[in-house]
Amino acid sequence: MKPMAKPVFLAAGAYTVSLGPGRREFSPRIPRPGLDHYLKEAGRAALAQISDPGAIDEGVVGNFMAARFNRQGHLGAMMAIIHPTLEYKPALRVEGACASGGLALATGIKSVLSGLADAVLVLGVEVQNTVKALYCADYLAGAGYYEGERKAGAAFFFPGRFSERAGAYAAKVGAAQARAAMAHWYRNAVEHARLNPEAQEFQNTAADLLAQGLTEPNPKAFTEHLNLFDCSKVSDGAAAIVIASAEGLSRLGLARQDAVEVTGLGQCAANLTTPPPDLTELTTCGLAAARARAMAGIGIQDAGIFEVHDCFTISGLLSVEALGLAKAGGGADLVLAGETRRTGRFPVNTGGGLIGYGHPTGATGVRMAVDLWRQLTGRAGDFQVALAKEHGIMVSMGGNDKTAVALVVRR
C-alpha cells in the first residue's frame, strides 16, 4: 500500500445541532430550517476559523437523498450561499448513501493530493424531518438494492436489514449476551451525547438507559431483533471541515497544531446487488479500515480514539470487530467490559456517535472527522478525552456495509 503522496490535513471543523426527536426545540408541528440554513451554518462556522475564505479552492458536499427529502438536487451549486468567494469555484455533491459524508472527505483529499487544490471545504448535510419516519424509511431504502430487495423488505427497511444481522449475531454469541451488549452500546452513546451540546440526545434525562436498551423487541410493531433504542433517530444537520495541503494550511492562517494529518485513506464499494457474505461481519468496513491502516503504516494498537458508524447498536458492535479492536464475536465482551466508553481503553464515538449525536445521513461521515479532529487537537470541550496515543481512526459506512470510507488521522 502506497503512503500518501504528500501531507494532507484536516482543520477548522464544525457541525450544527442534530435536530430531531429528542431535542426540546424540535416538534413535528413547528416549521424547521431547511437545507440552506444547515449548509450556511456549518459552512460559515468552518470558514470563521480561517483567516481568508478566499483561499478555499474547491467545495465538496456529501448528501444522500435531498432529491427526495427536500426535492432538491444540484447541491454543488448551492455551496456559494455559504460565502460569495465560493461562486464560480469547482464544487460538487457526492453520494454514497450514509457514507456520503465519508465520500466527500475522500473526494476532498484526492483533490488536494492531485495538486489541483490546496484547500477544500468539505460539507455533509441532510434534512430528513420533512416526512414521517415511515416515509423516511422509504427514502433511506434507496441505499439498498431497489429491484432486488426493497419489495420483500420490511416497512422500516434498514432496521429490518440490521435486525437480521442482530439475529445472526445473537445466534453466534448468545441472545442474552447480544442484547446486553446492544443495551450497553445504547447507554454509552447517550451518556457520551449528554456531554455534547450539539447532540440530539444531549437533553436526554432518562434515569435507566440500560433498562431502555434491554427492552424486548416487538416484531409486530417494528423488527424482530431491534428495539427503537437500538436505532439512530431521524435527524437534520450539517457538518463541515477544511482539507488542506501544508501550503493550504498556511494560506488559511492555520498552524500545524490546529490540524490533524490524514495518514491513511481506505475506500471500498462492494456489490450492492448481492447479499452480505456474512451477516455477523462488516466485511467492507473491515477492508476499508485495514487499507487505511496499511497506508498509514500503523497497527490498531497505535490508535487511541475511534469513530464508527453505529446507525444501529448492532452496527456499533460489528464495527469494533471490523476495526480489529476485538476478534469476531468478541465485540460484545469488549463493550460489556466498558472498553469502548470514554473512560475505556478504546474510546469510541465520544461525541455520541450516530445514536447519541444523531444521524443526518449525508453529514455523518464529515461529523465523524470533526469529532476526531476535535479530540486530537484538544477542542472537544466537555467531551474531551485525555489521549495518550496520537492516532485516531474513523469508518463511514453506506447502506448495508456496501460503501465504506476509512481515515487514519494523526495529531
Binding site: K132, R150, K151, A155
Partner: protein, 443 residues
C-alpha cells in the same frame, strides 16, 4: 343473508355529524380491507347527510384518517400488496390504500341513496322528531331485507321501529364518542328483533373490533341512564352551593370535585359540554317522556336559551358551553347573569379551591392512573384517605361517589341492564372512568 353479503351494501345516515363521521370512517376502513381480501366482490358505502359541504368535509376527514390508519397498519398493507409489483414504497402502499378506502364511498343528500343498502347505520341528531322522520322515509325507500342499526342513545327502539313500520329490523348499536377510538358499543335489542339481526350486529361489532355490552330497551339505556342523572345531580349541587358561594364558585367546585377528587378524565360540566348541552336537553326530554321521572333542569334550558351549546368544532376542538376552553382545557366559566365567561385565573377560583380543601395525599390523577398496573390498589387507598378527610371537598366527593353508585344500582334494579358489571363496563369503556360506579371503595 350472511354478514359479508350485507357488508357489500352499507349506508350511514347523518354521516357528517360527530358520531356519524367516526362510524363512516370505521366502515370505510373495514370495507377497504374486505375488498382487498375479496377482489371479486363490490362494496359500496353510501354516506348521507344534509348538505354537500359537510359531506365533502367528511370525505376529506376520511382521507386523512385512512392515511393514518394505513401508516399504522403498514405491515398488513405490505402483505396485502405483496403481489402488486407496482407498489414498493410504504408511501405508495398507503396512497393506494387511501384510494381503496375512498373508492367505495358515494355521498348524497337524500335518503334514496340508501335504496340498495342492506345495513343502514343511523347517527342523526338525537331528537325524536328527527329520527321518526328519517325512519318513516327509510321504511319506504329501503329493501325489505335491510336492517337498521341506530346510534340513538336514548329513544326506546320498540317505539321507534314499530311506529315507523320496521319492527324486528332495528337494533340499537350505540357507539361512544369518538367512535373510531372508543372500544364500547352498547347493544340494545328491542322486544321484536329478528334473530338474524342479532347475529349480524354481533358480527359487525367483531369486524369493527368493538366490545359490546347488552342493554335493555329502556329510554337512556345504560350510558345516558347514568350520565344524565349524574349530570342532574351535579347541577343540583351547584344550585345548592350557589346560595352560599355564588354560581361561578359553586360550578367550579363541583367541576373540580368530579374530576380531581373522583379521578375522572374530565369534570362533569366539561363532559356535558363535550356531549353538547342541546343533546343533553334532548335526551332529558326523551327520558322524561318515556320514564315518567322528573328529569328536567332549568339551568340547561336557560343556558341554551342564551345560545350556549357546547359541542365541538368540525376539527374536534371544544366549543364554549358551561366552560370555555383554550387548547382543550377549561379556562373560564359561563356566567348566566352577565352572559360572559369569567376566567378561572382569578382570586374567586382560588378561594373556591381552598374552601374545598386539599386532595388526598399522595396526589393522583386520572392521566397517570389509566396506565398504572396498580391502579386498583391506589384507588382503594385514595378513597380510604378521602373517607378520613374532614373537608368540604372530601364530603362533596363522597356524596357524589355515592350518588353515582345509587344511579348505577337503580339501573340494575329497573332492569335497564342485567348486571352491575354491565354498568361498570359502560362507564369504564364508554366514559373512560377508572372504576365503575358500583364499587366498594366507599361504604
Amino acid at each position: 343473508m350472511d354478514l359479508d353479503t350485507r357488508m357489500e351494501q352499507v349506508a350511514v345516515v347523518g354521516a357528517a355529524g360527530k358520531m356519524g363521521s367516526g362510524i363512516a370512517l370505521l366502515l370505510a376502513l373495514e370495507l377497504a380491507y374486505r375488498a382487498l381480501g375479496h377482489k371479486q366482490r363490490t362494496y359500496v358505502l353510501s354516506l348521507i347527510d344534509r348538505n354537500d359541504a359537510a359531506l365533502q368535509g367528511l370525505v376529506r376527514y376520511i382521507r386523512d384518517q385512512a392515511a393514518k390508519d394505513g401508516e399504522k397498519q403498514i405491515n398488513r398493507l405490505r402483505l396485502l400488496f405483496q403481489d402488486r409489483a407496482d407498489l414498493v414504497d410504504n408511501q405508495e402502499m398507503v396512497q393506494e390504500f387511501v384510494f381503496e378506502v375512498l373508492l367505495r364511498i358515494r355521498t348524497g343528500t337524500t335518503l334514496t341513496l340508501a335504496k340498495e343498502s342492506l345495513l343502514v347505520f343511523e347517527a342523526a341528531f338525537e331528537q325524536e322528531e328527527v329520527k321518526f322522520s328519517i325512519y318513516n322515509e327509510l321504511a319506504s325507500i329501503c329493501r325489505p331485507e335491510a336492517y337498521f342499526l341506530t346510534n340513538t342513545s336514548s329513544i326506546p327502539l320498540h317505539v321507534l321501529s314499530e311506529a315507523c313500520g320496521i319492527p324486528g329490523r332495528m337494533i340499537g348499536f350505540h357507539f361512544y364518542n369518538p367512535p373510531a377510538v372508543q372500544k364500547l358499543v352498547e347493544l340494545i335489542q328491542p322486544r321484536r328483533c329478528d334473530p338474524e339481526l342479532v347475529q349480524v350486529a354481533a358480527g359487525v361489532a367483531r369486524a369493527l373490533r368493538k366490545k359490546t355490552v347488552p342493554a335493555n330497551d329502556i329510554a337512556g339505556f345504560i350510558g345516558n341512564g347514568h350520565f344524565i342523572r349524574d349530570g342532574l345531580y351535579a347541577i343540583r349541587e351547584v344550585e345548592r352551593l350557589a346560595g352560599k358561594h355564588g354560581f361561578l364558585p359553586a360550578l367550579h367546585m363541583v367541576e373540580q370535585v368530579s374530576r380531581d377528587f373522583l379521578l375522572r378524565p374530565m369534570g362533569i360540566f366539561q363532559l356535558i359540554d363535550y356531549v353538547g348541552i342541546d343533546v343533553f336537553q334532548s335526551i332529558l326530554r326523551v327520558m322524561k317522556k318515556y320514564l315518567g321521572e322528573d328529569l328536567h333542569s332549568d339551568l340547561i334550558d336557560r343556558t341554551l336559551e342564551l345560545g350556549v351549546k357546547g359541542g365541538q368544532t368540525s376539527s374536534g376542538a371544544p366549543r364554549p358551553g358551561f366552560l370555555d376552553y383554550a387548547k382543550g382545557r377549561p379556562v373560564a366559566i359561563f356566567d348566566p347573569a352577565s352572559h360572559v365567561y369569567a376566567p378561572l385565573e382569578a382570586p374567586w377560583a382560588r378561594s373556591a379551591e381552598s374552601w374545598l380543601g386539599p386532595r388526598p395525599d399522595p396526589g393522583l390523577s386520572w392521566k397517570t392512573l389509566q396506565r398504572d398496573p396498580h391502579c386498583d390498589g391506589k384507588l382503594k387507598a385514595w378513597f380510604q384517605a378521602l373517607q378520613a378527610l374532614d373537608t368540604p371537598g372530601a364530603a362533596m366527593a363522597r356524596d357524589h361517589f355515592r350518588a353515582s353508585r345509587e344511579i348505577g344500582l337503580n339501573l340494575v334494579k329497573q332492569g335497564v341492564c342485567n348486571t352491575a358489571e354491565d354498568v361498570n363496563e359502560v362507564l369504564k369503556l364508554g366514559f373512560f372512568h377508572l372504576y365503575g360506579p358500583i364499587t366498594e371503595y366507599l361504604d
